[in-house]
Amino acid sequence: VASTLTDRTCSAMGTYTYTYTSRPRALPCQRRRYRDHLMQLAEEPVHHGNIMYDRRVVRGNTYALHTGPLPGQPDPIEIQRQQQAKRRALAKKRAQEQFRPRTPEPVEGRKHVDVQTEMYLEEIADRIIVDVECQTDAFLDRPPTPLFIPAKTGKDVATQILEGELFDFDLEVKPMLEVLVGKTIEQSLLEVMEEEELANLRASQYAYEELRNVELAEVQRLAEQEKRHREEKERRKRQQWEVVYKHSETAQKVAARVFAQRYLADLLPSVFDSLRDGGYFYDPVERDIEIGFLPWLMNEVDKTMEYSMVGRTVLDMLIREVVEKRLAAYEQRDDQPPAGKPKDELGESGRMTEPPVGYELQEQSTAQPQRPLPGRDSLQRTPDDGRYMESVLAQETKLMEEAEYEQTKIRKTSGTEVLQPRGDFQP
């Protein structure tokens, strides 16, 4: 039986014309029966079907069908796909059948036999004797399943073993008993021995521990003693060291003090000496004399000399006037050339010039600050320098006043005669 799938008479445009041929044959029954499919696998697959339900036949109008990839005819791709799918399904089924748990194959020389494992054996007859159907009432509940106790088939057979027929208990039991008891006793003996041993061990352990404790205590005591000794020693050493250190420090300090004392033993005298040399300490009486008394003395001497000078100039003026008058009188009277008079006058003018010269020098010296002594008290040597300076200042101003006063006095008294010689000495 062949059905061919021809052929492409116009394959260029992708249109095929389809032809189908098959020989007429008898159609077997499609219904699958129990165990029939096992035998049918050997035959080749039969490709026959109802033409009415064949998809390949074109139905409906044929003038407006889309000429798709294969109208009514599956694509070769689709065919391939379907074939693949089929193959896969088959393979799956086979695989599943392979992996389904089955009883293993019987060993060589053996054969498996099916055995019933139900509670009650059942004879399996292959013949179907009667097919019976039943239908329960639609409206009734399903009653509970009655207990199925199949009828008993077979024969019952029983045996009985009487006492003493198989074996003699006492005889048989002896070795066993011996072993049992012996083992037990042995076991118990062992256990007891073990216990004893353990007890001994423990006892010796206790003893040892006691000893050890005692020794430890002893050791600790000794160690404590040692530590105490050592600490004591350290403390003593440190104490001693501190003592020595303090001693040395004290010795150093004392040495330093002694040295400093000796070194600076001469300090005060030399300080006072240097201050005296520097003029800070002075003999107050000496200073007083120098500052106060001597200038005053000089001043007084000056004044006295000035007075005498003034007196002499006044006298000179008087004499001059008198002589001039006399001269005028003689000239009027006698008209004699006075020989001696000009000489007199020269002599007088000479004398008059001299004192002013001396007076000039004196004046210059008085212009120097020399202090007259207003009162002794203010010149006592006071530790306060300010007062000293003030007193000096007061004296100075007084002196300057005096000097001015004296200068004015000079101007008044000396008159024109003295002015000229003054001009010589003051450029």
Partner: protein
């Protein structure tokens, strides 16, 4: 009362313990470690304390401790305090300005005291000056006091130029407690001064004084600027000189011990150098002082003699290195036994042994107390360093310089009489009779070659030693021993000159 500084410190710590009763520790004799006196000398503790006490007495502050603290912090014991006096035209302003620059100090003259702007006193003084060209003494002294108590004068010292003018001013300044440390008076015959004054010129910008003959400025622009100051004619100068002489004769006694008169008739630089050297010397102070003297010099320069004289006069311990070693050998001490083989082989004893022996000797109580004079020791720089490291630094080092010929003369003519043991010198101490002369012997060490060898040895190391002991004093050893001794004495007694920093 002048107190002569009692040379070396009086021995005996027992003296110091005497006034204390009480603790045994103070009365028992103490070992004063030698570092203390050395420290005292090195830092001039005595002068420090003296200055501080002086200031305390002068100012008499209410809180002495604070005052002392601030005084010590100021630390101005060594600042220059100089007064320069002199007749007009002696160049004192020039000297003062140069000294000022050199010593980095402040210059105070009448002009610049008056010219100060910030002082009311100065304003008053100016008014006076305009009237009478003279400032009254009290005002001037007050100005000085104000100026000297300013910060920069405290820190850098001061130089007064031409102040005090009169004895009154001098006394006033002294009463205030302002004491100079050096007073320099320039003196010169009047005729010289009058002539010199005629050539005086002033630069108006800087205020410097130039002279037509002696001190002409090199730059032409300064020359053009120079102005003839007023008041330099002969008559003026004569008048000023007269006044000056009248005053100076009364000022000089006010500064008895610190005065120095320098002749102004020399070139400027000479005057300046003399002034500078004087300004840098410190005066003798009463500080106790143990002299530790080191005499260096070539063989035959008289070290042994000088050391003996010093030891005799001042009670110092005479330490001769060679002698010490011989004593050690003679004592047969441990060190002596070490030294003996070197002596036998006539080799130089190694430095370490010498140091040990020396150290032992110098640390003994008597040399610490009385001081020592060492001679014959450091021969080269290493030995000097070792001596330094031991802690025995000499406070005075003297180099006796004698020329080679003198030494040869001194040494090669030495002779000894074997019979009597007398030592003669053919030139300085000839033997009395001919027969003694006949039997005189010369020490083989005294031959010319040996002497020359030793001299060479010395001179090789002398430059190093001179550099190491920078404060050494060089003395001409070629004179007779007592002159040299006096030089050494003055070198010991006078304080070492301070170098300007």
């Amino acid at each position: 009362m002048t107190r002569r500084r009692g040379g070396p410190s009086d021995g005996g710590l027992q003296g110091a313990g005497a006034p204390h009763g009480g603790m045994d520790a103070t009365t028992a004799p103490h070992r004063i470690p030698p570092e203390m006196p050395q420290y005292g000398e090195a830092n001039h503790i005595f002068e420090l304390m003296q200055n501080m006490l002086e200031q305390l007495l002068i100012h008499q502050p209410k809180d002495p401790i604070l005052f002392m603290i601030s005084h010590l912090q100021r630390d101005n014991n060594n600042v220059p305090k100089i007064v320069i006096l002199g007749p007009p035209a002696s160049g004192k302003t020039t000297i003062a300005m140069w000294l000022c620059k050199h010593l980095n100090s402040n210059l105070l003259t009448v002009e610049n005291l008056i010219a100060r702007e910030l002082s009311s006193l100065a304003a008053g003084a100016r008014r006076h000056y305009q009237d009478v060209t003279k400032v009254p003494s009290t005002l001037l002294v007050r100005l000085i006091q104000e100026r000297v108590s300013e910060e920069d004068c405290i820190r850098r010292g001061w130089i007064l130029d031409g102040i005090p003018e009169t004895r009154e001013q001098a006394l006033m300044i002294q009463t205030l407690g302002i004491t100079p440390r050096h007073v320099i008076v320039l003196s010169s015959p009047d005729t010289v001064l009058i002539e010199r004054n005629l050539g005086k010129r002033i630069d108006p910008q800087t205020g410097e004084i130039y002279h037509t003959t002696f001190d002409w400025p090199p730059e032409a622009e300064i020359q053009n600027r120079l102005v003839v100051p007023e008041g330099i004619s002969e008559l003026e100068t004569a008048r000023k000189l007269l006044e000056y002489h009248r005053n100076i004769i009364r000022i000089l006694p006010a500064y008895p011990k610190i005065l120095k008169v320098i002749s102004a008739d020399q070139p400027c630089m000479d005057v300046f150098y003399q002034a500078l050297t004087y300004a840098q010397t410190s005066h003798r102070s009463n500080a106790p002082f143990t002299p530790r003297v080191l005499l260096c010099g070539p063989v035959g320069s008289g070290r042994r003699l000088q050391a003996a004289l010093l030891a005799q006069k001042y009670g110092l311990v005479n330490v001769h290195c060679g002698q010490l070693l011989k004593e050690a050998v003679a004592d047969k001490s441990k060190v002596g036994e070490l030294i003996q083989p070197y002596f036998q082989k006539k080799m130089a004893v190694p430095d370490s042994i010498i140091m040990k022996v020396l150290d032992q000797r110098l640390s003994q109580q008597d040399s610490v107390q009385k001081g020592w004079v060492l001679h014959g020791f450091p021969r080269d720089l290493d030995q000097a360093h070792m001596l330094h490291s031991l802690g025995h630094q000499p406070s005075r080092v003297f180099f006796l310089n004698v020329p080679l010929d003198s030494i040869i003369e001194r040494l090669t003519l030495r002779r000894m009489d074997p019979v009597t043991g007398e030592r003669y010198h053919l030139m300085y101490k000839p033997p009395p009779t001919v027969e003694i002369q006949a039997r005189l012997l010369q020490h083989p060490r005294d031959t010319k070659e040996q002497v020359k060898l030793k001299m060479d040895l010395f001179y090789r190391h002398s430059s190093d030693l001179e550099e190491f002991y920078r404060q050494a004093i060089a003395i001409n050893g070629d004179q007779d021993p007592y002159t040299v001794f006096e030089y050494i004495e003055s070198g010991i007694i006078n304080p070492l000159p301070r170098k300007v920093p």
